[in-house]
Symmetry: C2
Subunit: 442 residues, 2 copies
Amino acid sequence: MDAAEFRRRGKEMVDYMANYLANIEQRPVYPDVKPGYLRSLIPTEAPLEPENYEDVIKDVERVIMPGVTHWHSPYFYAYFPTASSYPAMLADMLCGAIGGMGFTWSTASEATLMSVLAARCKAIQQVQASNPGQSEAEILPKLVAYTSEQAHSSVERASLIGGVLMKKVPTDDNYAVGGGMFKKMLEEDKAAGLIPFYLCATLGTTPSCGFDHITELGPICNKENMWMHIDAAYAGSAFICPEFRPLLNGVEFADSFNFNPHKWLLTNFDCSTMWVKKRDDIIGVFKHSDQPFYLKHEHQDYNHSSLLQNWQIPHGRRFRSLKLWFVFRMYGIQGLQAHIRKQVALAKEFESLVRADKRFEICAEVIMGLVCFRLKGSNQLTELLLKRITESREIHLVPCHLSGRFVLRFAICARTTDSRHIQQAWRHITQLTFEILQEPNH
Amino acid sequence: MDAAEFRRRGKEMVDYMANYLANIEQRPVYPDVKPGYLRSLIPTEAPLEPENYEDVIKDVERVIMPGVTHWHSPYFYAYFPTASSYPAMLADMLCGAIGGMGFTWSTASEATLMSVLAARCKAIQQVQASNPGQSEAEILPKLVAYTSEQAHSSVERASLIGGVLMKKVPTDDNYAVGGGMFKKMLEEDKAAGLIPFYLCATLGTTPSCGFDHITELGPICNKENMWMHIDAAYAGSAFICPEFRPLLNGVEFADSFNFNPHKWLLTNFDCSTMWVKKRDDIIGVFKHSDQPFYLKHEHQDYNHSSLLQNWQIPHGRRFRSLKLWFVFRMYGIQGLQAHIRKQVALAKEFESLVRADKRFEICAEVIMGLVCFRLKGSNQLTELLLKRITESREIHLVPCHLSGRFVLRFAICARTTDSRHIQQAWRHITQLTFEILQEPNH
């Protein structure tokens, strides 16, 4: 869908929204379907090739609306109101176009937290099963979680919220956690009386897009009865391409896995997806909590563990799957693969430009859409370059630290980024570099 | 704004969105403003009377855009991508119109969790200050939090996540927590060696819209050095009307306060607002967490506690304030007050209908937009009535339990609900009642 079609479809959608709300009284306020009704109405897989928008929008009435409880119907008197107004809808449309993050960019953080809480709950039960006398208060301070020293800061925050110790595992030359170092830490901690219970492995770290060795880490976690969570927030989208699938080998050992379609799968923020191997593990976190009376409903016994409110911190959630469904159908798997491949190719193009310039060095293997690079020499030199880049406000980059070196991260971000932007960005960077190196003190 | 204007403005907004994205390269990718730049550009208070939409949309360029980092600019190479596509935007527009909850309706739950975590952190520091030898592991099992037996289930969940004991305080005849019963529990728990540290009071409980007596509870919490959080998720919106402000007396004792504009303030889901008395308390939860290098930025020292990522569980957040800003301006305070008053009047109208029918009884004082009622006699009778209401699918209600009685909750929800809908709903309810009472076994 190009901008011209979006203009047309967007205006049709505005009319659809207005018609929906104007005629909402004609719809039954409460759906007359059973859980699972969707299964027979939609294909089991996303389409390989893009579909027509007409087919998608026709399916809204055929597939989606029969399952919708119309909260804005004047026949809806349940719970409390959920607000709605035209100005708020207009603002949200604009918010979708701006599509920025509120200060930073991850809601994988909530998935990580849920996995820590589930693992904590399971570990306490397991210790108590073999030591019936031990209280939760005695066990909790012995529990220890692990993650890479390169993991996202939200992983450490999850351990702070969950009140458990988290240790950082040093990484190898590729900024990845391997089995050897991890095993060594486990042995030491167990000898000291601690109980290792959780590992957050990362596929595609934030600083350098490093990939932890999950084929080594997974069997260790399974053997030690530890929960392995995989945070693939950014790189996870790339696994729709067969050529990147080998990086996912070892996922079969994981207890939970997360990636953010809102990062790299053409789905506007926010949309973060999480899989768990045993759904009872995740809902175990809230198992002591009573289902309050006003939430009980006719299908509650259908499949208790499928109640999504038990999978997450907030009770409510936006209807986020709608975005994914539109995107799958309008791009098709081929279209999504093409997007990933194009962006990886642009990163490779930038990498070539950097490698061809003897003043620069590449600081980590370029696997996805991220290039880590720096000026050879002191950290101060690259710091000064970043300062000039930021001051000139033509492009926006953020740095990272790799092995004590100050490094620039060049991440291919915008859907519309093209070769000419890469070339232009590189001209800009080299021009600033030229100016810096001309200055007397360099 | 009526439906006709929404059609016009919506189509203009679609063009604005398409233009914004088509011409994004012409905008500086990174804003050239200092934190706080907004303060001088916008008034200190929401307008009393509605403004013109033209003025609002003109202010998007004047006020908002200078502060936006354009994540979808092809000159943006920072962090990782945040996805965007036309299909996802179209789906989100539709999601805004449907505006339903994912299974239930509260993200006040996250605010409650943050307040529990902040209080836990503060309590541990305080105990350690007077008993330097005590470890966190020793203190945690002694901490006890309190809430009403009528509080929302998310309050109990917050204590499960935070790993602290939570006790439920019995309520009085108005289903509200008073000072006497609370004080008695505190004395018993302190005598048993526990450390009371937190109270979640509710203004407008979910079952009956009861109001805890915060003028009594607040001074007790302050004296005992306990954190008082106020959950006013639903009723909080009504405090924009002076006549409801007395219900808020005692808020000055609170450490934190939350209400959901997405419930009753014409702002589409999700939008939940939280105040804290001392911002350092709330960011203390994550104080041990390093600010990672890739998140450091030029203004980070400007005011560390204003970094919103330290106020919440997820790192990222949608640009939700945009909705509130549109709503404040397009309705004005008067328009918002009129909405609240109209819905309260509709609840009173329904209450009168129930009171005029001798077969029914009102089960809790009607203060806001919620009417709790039942058929006189056995619970089975009202349960049967609800079953028939649900089966006929004309209106949607959920029940609650009050003092062991099965009670129907009739909440005024949709923005468009009018007197004729109330009258029609009552005719429907009395028709079903008539049929039930005609049946031989009644």
